[in-house]
Structures are given as structure tokens and as C-alpha cells.
Symmetry: C2
């Protein structure tokens, strides 16, 4: 039986009918009215209704950027969606007449890569979703690590630099401030603003306005051979790899899968990440070493993962 | 049925008969001939034979400071014991005619605190054994986290300071270099050597020789009211607490248990550790917060834990 996966982002809702093999059979999109929980729920109900008109499904999974409780139903805290103790699962199940499983979006993406993507050959993996921020998902012995409160794998908020950059979570030095699209853009703008000659290509791509530089500009410039842009991706890769080594020191994972929009930079990011990762591993030379892989499911990972979690509820 | 736990340290072997309730019914000690694996095995066989003369047992657990393989039999790498791919479990089982389970000593200590000690009320905990170094043990959902290769919970080698102090593992900035007895002594000696007037009590306790300062000297001076020694323990506590928050960000544990010889400083260490821990937790105020507790089983934790793991083999 198919299930529906719904990925609630900060600006849009993506929903799809997903087969047991992880294939997306149909999909719809809605805008996210981010500050109005009621309106988000209505948009999800509407999207699911449209999908059910064409496919029989037996469960709905909902992925959202936030802390989801141990019962996989209530969003305890979602900073970008203005949710506090929002009973999303209960409300949606009542409105839809279907079982609903709610999961953190990065956990859902990690589960998708584990079941259907880059991590399908292993039983223990770490997923890093590198978009604007850094989302984490952890698989231990073939199971999604949720923790007793549902708050596990908040990898972006592990501190990697004492007294480092301020983070939106209220602390300083969080990994997310060094290994994310936001960090890449911050460093790129700082490099350009410093006025050195190396960053001219980046400035050109941004139309001459340092404040207009985006992550894709950096990747494009790097692909075009711009050395400064390549350095920016290499620095980002180093932070990814060194942090990943810390996670493997804790978890002994067999694979680290790197996804999210920033991972589309590919080997320009992953090669320096791998070098840093292997250098930083404890007991290197005496251990089977984890592989660091690019994710395979792209933007659909959250939707596919949460649909699968709903199917296995 | 009772089992025997053997804890192989850098200078001594402690072995005991342990009941299912975690009680140590009899114990013996042997010196550790650290550089000779064969001599260590003979000392273990001899200690077990002595214990079996007075008690019936059905299994032997052996805890050692090192990386133990997924089969809980071979010590892949033990830096302080000169072991490389040492088939300790197989050799001992043949010599003893009993099932033998080998486990990393910090994992064993964590398991003991989980089953019989400070963590017995929870299902998810982190154990920090703070002696000369920093050993980690992790319980996830009531199970010891070993990882697919047996190398999980190497918490002391998670990097917490980029370009930080050099570690014996070959990297820099490992947590163990900031949250361990070795770190405490390093900082105490540096403080005294700097010649400030605040550290006079510490210097007196060490007989006037900064190089003779030990961890117990710091704890004694702090208990006597010496402000500089109290600051040293508070700094150590801060590194413990901040690092523990990172572990809870990954694992969502319900409790962090702090043991090892350095933890005998008690609240002088744990109160600043708790303050730093709570301040550094992601989503604090929106989550059930883990408790940070002092370990209860002292030096026997490794022996008791590995005896229990052998019983449950």
C-alpha cells in the first residue's frame, strides 16, 4: 500500500504519494502560511485530499523543521513555523481520517537515505542535511535514533567552537554556524567585502552587490575555476568533515551521508570533507573507516522518508 | 548465577565475583605487566582461578582500556597496553573453560551505572569516566551503544576546540584534553608556575614542587576553601558540562552520569558542570532536560559492568 509524505518547509509544503519502493507517484505543492498553524494544517489537508483523489493510501507522514515529541505527534517547538506544543498529528488524523506520523524533517531525510538512498548498504549512518542550516539524522542498528523525548540528532547545535559565532538557538559556536549554507554565504560576503582581488568572479555573479551573494553563486564560481570560491567550499567541507568525525567517534557509524541544497556542490565540497574526516577520526589506521557519501534523493528525501515512517508506523 | 568481572588497568588488574544484584562478593588484585600481553593473560587466568576456588560462576567479563571488536572478543588497539589485534577473549575462554566477554572499560562502567548505579531510573544515558583521561559509555533505549565495529562512545576524542591541545590520539583539541584529570593537573601546574599569589595552598600541598601537583591536591585545596583550586575545578566542570550538552544534542539522553576518580570532587565539580550543561543545551526551556548525576559505583564500575555483560551474554 502507498502512503503520503508531506514536507512542511518555511515557505512551501511539498506532498507526494510514495510507493513502498520509495518512488514518488504523484506530487502537489502549497505555499506555507508560516505564522499561522491553523492555515498550515488546512493547506496540508487540502494537499492530501488532492493526492487521495488519484491514489489509495493508508497513512500520512508529515515532516517539519522542529522538535517533535516522542509520540511522533506533537511539534513541541518549531522556531521557523511559530509552533509551540502544536498537536499537529492529532489534528491532522482527525481531519483526514487516516493515521498520521509526524517527524523532524532532517530525521525523515536521514531515514529516506537509509532505506532508499546512499545509506542503503549500511545499518548505522549519520545524515547531514546542509541547507540554510544543518539538520542531522542518525540511524543506529537499522533504527532511527529519536531519543526518549524525540529530540535526538540535533547535530547542528553541537558546539564546535568555544565562543564562536552566535547561533539562532541562543548559544555560540554551534556546528550549524560553520557547516551550512548560511555559513558559506557569510564567509563569501566577508571575503568579497574585504576587497581582495581574488573574489572578483563572485562579485560579478552577484551583480556587483556583496549582499546579493548566494550559495549557488559560490558553487557556480567554483565550478568555473575561481580559486577563492573553491577555497570557500573547501573550508566548508573541512568543517563538515571534522564535525562528522566527532559524530563517528560517538556513534561508530559506517557511513556519513551529506545532503541538502549545499551538497549539490558535489566533489568540490565532499573531497575536502573526506580528507578532514579521515584525518580527524580517532584510532585511524586501526579501525574500519566510515565512508562519506553524497545523498541520492535530493529535495524529496524528507517526503520519501516520512512516507516510509508512516507506512511502518 | 554469579559471574566474574576483570578490570585490566594500566598498572593493575582488579577482579571480583559479582552477583546478579551487582554486589562484589570477593575480590583479588594483580599487578599489570603492561607491555607483555601474554603475562597479562596469565595474570587474569590466575586471578580468576583464585576467585573460582570459593565461588561457582558461569562466565567471565573482561574490561580493558582500548578498542574492542564487534564480537566482544578481540582488542583491536589498546594504546596503554601494547595490544594490537589481541585475541584476548578467545585465549582466555580456552584457558578458563568459561565463556568470556571482552568490553571497553568505559562502556563497562557506563553499563554498571545504568544497571545498578546512578542511571538505573532511565533508559538513555551518557557515562563520563573522568580519570587520567575521559572515557565514554552510552546507553540508548536500554542497550549499550557499541556501534557496528564496537568503537562507539569514544567521547574523549570528540574535538571541542579547533587547533586545541595535542592529544595522545594524534589529533588536537579532543574533549579529553579539557575534561580529564590530566587537563586539571596541566592547568593547576600552569597556574602555580605563573607565580601568582593565589595558588600558594596548592604549592604547599605539593611540597613546593609545581611538577608534583596532582588532581587530589587540587580537590583537597578546593575543599579547604582555596579559591584558585575551586576555580580550577569549576573550569573543569564547565568543560564537562558544555561537552555533555553536545552529547545530549546528539543522543537526547535522560541522564549524564559523571564518574571516575576526578568525580570524587563532588559538587565542587558537578555544580559548575550542571550550570554549563543547562546553559548549552539546544532548545532549553522547550525540552525535558537531562539530569547530571554523580556516579555511585566508584572504582568497581568497570568490574561490575563487565560481569553483568558476561552474565547476559
Amino acid at each position: 500500500m502507498h502512503s503520503i509524505g508531506v514536507d512542511i518547509g518555511g515557505t512551501k509544503i511539498a506532498a507526494g504519494v510514495v510507493s513502498a519502493e520509495g518512488e514518488v507517484l504523484a506530487r502537489v505543492r502549497r505555499q506555507t502560511p508560516a505564522t499561522d498553524p491553523q492555515a498550515i494544517e488546512e493547506a496540508v489537508v487540502d494537499a492530501v485530499a488532492e493526492l487521495r483523489a488519484g491514489h489509495e493510501v493508508d497513512a500520512v507522514g508529515v515532516a517539519a523543521a522542529g522538535f517533535v515529541d516522542a509520540g511522533r505527534s506533537t511539534v513541541v517547538f518549531a522556531p521557523n513555523l511559530a509552533w509551540r506544543d502544536e498537536p499537529l498529528g492529532t489534528d491532522l488524523a482527525a481531519a483526514l481520517g487516516l493515521p498520521v506520523v509526524v517527524e523532524n524533517d532532517a530525521n525523515a531525510a536521514g531515514w529516506a537515505e537509509f532505506v532508499h538512498g546512499a545509506g542503503r548498504a549500511v545499518q548505522d549512518m549519520v545524515m547531514l542535511t546542509i541547507g540554510t542550516g544543518l539538520g542531522g539524522g542518525v540511524i543506529v542498528g537499522g533504527e532511527l535514533l529519536r531519543g526518549p523525548h524525540g529530540f535526538a540528532a540535533e547535530l547542528g547545535h553541537v558546539r564546535v567552537v568555544p565562543d564562536g559565532h552566535v547561533c539562532g538557538c541562543g548559544n555560540r559556536g554551534c556546528w550549524e554556524q560553520y557547516a551550512s549554507g548560511r555559513a558559506l554565504v557569510r564567509e563569501a560576503r566577508a571575503m568579497v567585502t574585504s576587497g581582495g582581488p581574488v573574489a572578483q568572479r563572485l562579485l560579478d555573479l552577484a551583480g556587483g552587490d556583496p549582499g546579493a551573494i548566494t550559495g549557488p553563486h559560490v558553487t557556480r564560481a567554483a565550478r568555473d575555476g575561481d580559486a577563492a570560491a573553491q577555497d570557500l567550499l573547501a573550508d566548508l567541507g573541512r568543517w563538515i568533515g571534522e564535525g562528522a568525525a566527532g559524530m563517528v567517534a560517538v556513534l561508530d557509524s559506517s557511513a556519513v551521508v551529506v545532503g541538502g541544497a549545499v551538497a549539490e556542490a558535489g566533489e568540490l565540497l565532499l573531497e575536502p570533507a573526506r580528507a578532514a574526516f579521515h584525518r580527524q577520526l580517532p584510532a585511524r589506521g586501526y579501525r574500519p573507516e566510515a565512508v562519506l557519501l553524497q545523498a541520492e534523493l535530493g529535495n524529496d528525501a524528507g517526503m520519501i522518508g516520512v512516507a516510509d515512517l508512516a507506512r511502518r508506523r
